[in-house]
């Protein structure tokens, strides 16, 4: 593999760009659990700090950043409610970004992937694993607090509603929503553009001010990432 030439922070806090000798540029984050990777990603030591490469083909948030997301709502100490944590690929990078003082409440309902998620959480004290259905947020009320960021990637047809419901319970006013929309899981018969528009409208009528819609192609085909600010209902 090609050598690292330099690593520098992007205009987003705690999100870095790594330049390799062969000219390629990849995103990376500072590893909160040094010595361990999560999904086979490369570990990079640079100026005595260990970084983890953040693969835009594996993580929609990285894809969105590569495709021009204008601002990142994550900062050190952020509280994040993450719906659809799966085996923890993106969760681990969010955990890196918010650092030890931040918290990631990672909700996932499939036992199969949660088995892998808890392996990740064991090494990351800022990840609180929640095996539960995001459609019933009251059922995990005993484990969470109000959050600064709601991240939703659950590939469900009614995810805009699920996101809004969770926001009404747990998202702080002025907090941010990151919502990944997969056109095919919402309606296979409609054009993706039409679907995105309708989903954005749903968010607007539920108290969100939609800031940006980022198309994730080629990292994920027929996907967008929506960044919105919550004004409350």
């Amino acid at each position: 593999m090609s050598e690292v030439v330099s690593i520098y922070e992007t205009n987003m806090l705690n999100i870095f760009r790594c330049e390799f000798e062969d000219g390629t540029v990849r995103l990376c984050t500072k590893n909160l659990s040094p010595g361990h990777n999560v999904y086979g990603e490369r570990l990079i030591r640079y100026n005595k700090i260990e970084y983890r490469e953040w693969n835009a083909f594996r993580s929609k948030l990285a894809g969105a950043i590569m495709k021009g997301l204008k601002e990142s709502p994550l900062s050190v100490g952020s509280r994040v409610l993450y719906l659809g944590a799966a085996s923890g690929t993106t969760v681990s990078h969010v955990s890196d970004i918010v650092e030890a003082s931040g918290k990631v409440y990672a909700v996932e309902f499939s036992p199969r992937v949660v088995r892998e998620l808890i392996m990740v959480a064991q090494r990351r004290p800022n990840v609180i694993t929640i095996l539960a259905d995001a459609r019933f947020p009251q059922r995990f009320r005993t484990l969470v607090e109000a959050v600064d960021v709601l991240y939703v990637d659950i590939a469900q047809p009614d995810q805009a509603e699920i996101a809004s419901y969770n926001a009404s319970l747990y998202l702080k006013k002025e907090g941010h929503l990151l919502l990944a929309i997969k056109a095919r899981s919402i309606d296979v018969t409609k054009e993706p553009e039409e679907i995105y528009k309708r989903e954005v409208e749903k968010l607007s009528s539920n108290g969100f001010d939609v800031r940006q819609v980022v198309n994730l192609d080629p990292y994920d085909k027929d996907h967008v990432m929506v960044l919105a600010k919550y004004e409350g209902k």
Partner: protein, 414 residues
Amino acid sequence: MKIYLVEHAIGAFAFNDRGELVDYVHNNKEIGKVVDYLLENEEGEPLPSSLELVKKVGAEEVVVEDEREVQKLQAKAGVKVTYATSHVGARKFRESLESFALSTHFASTDELYNYLHQLSLELTRRKLRKAAQRRDLLAIQAVRAMDDIDKTINLFSERLREWYSVHFPELDKMLEDHRQYASVVSRFGYRDAIGNKDELVELGIQEAKASRIIDVARKSIGAELSEADIRALTSLSDSILRLFQIRDELNEYVDSVMREVAPNITALVDSSLGARLLSLANGLDELAKMPASTIQVLGAEKALFRALRSGARPPKHGIIYQYPAIHSSPRWQRGKIARALASKLAIAAKIDAFTGRLSSDQLVDQLMKRIEEIKTKYPSAPPRQESQKQESQRQKGKRERGRGDRRRRGGRRR
């Protein structure tokens, strides 16, 4: 008075309609207990701390967050209960979880999150265990299948060796390893085709040995075979190689299932020995009920019963003999290490079966310390006299054992 009830892992909190904290009752800090409460709470059962709180403040009406809790709380606390998602108390509390934990002296911020982290892991493992529903049985079947495959591989390999020896008799002694032997037959067929050292090395055979095999193949005294003869032979060797491959896959599978259903046992011994223990005990719950002394001799039942009948020395270890630190240690240390391992296994099995906790680091540490201790305390064999006495006792045992066996056989005929 009407209160807005907030239930959280740290306790139950009552707010008034202006969003001010009226009173609270903390949960027990013992994680195992709280896990039980939260599991029930998810099904609509009020927390014990909530019941205590409602009584303590003398509430006449309680507003809860989950609809399913309305009836249960009403019945248990005998007060009027309604529900509202995201009520004043709920918002207030969750926006300042840390400061409520601090001001009510539950814990510091670090302690609070440490507690939530531990709790979430344990709660999740408990839920996985429920969802898993006896996935230990899968590990047991898979490890038994591995044993069946091993037997089959041995049987087929013996046959292959005899058969191929008609053509290349010298190879049998030169390659002890069944997998390498079958690979050679599959790869080359005719012994005359064995001419390239690199190809043999690729199969995992050492260079020196590879050269010798090539040499011997040239001078072999075996019979000549036809194409059809060779094809029949290689179809058997191919099957053996396929069995090895299945065995590898099963091994990996057993490993992943064991890490999930019995992470603490798997950390102490490797996954296939762990699965064999589950197999001998017939399940994780069964193993968890066994005392360490039973676990120590699991798999050596025959020898144990023989000893009990005849008064001979009982076996020091059953299947756990496979644990490297036991079989690679001098004989006089083995029994002590076996006892230490068995006692840790008994604890690990209980943790795996009844909690979602991961205590493997501690268990492994303690075991390693104990093994170290045994090694330094008993570096050499016990004095001669001792061992002679033991030896003669064993001889006596053997004799009696012989008689015992005969008696038993007589009994069976009746």
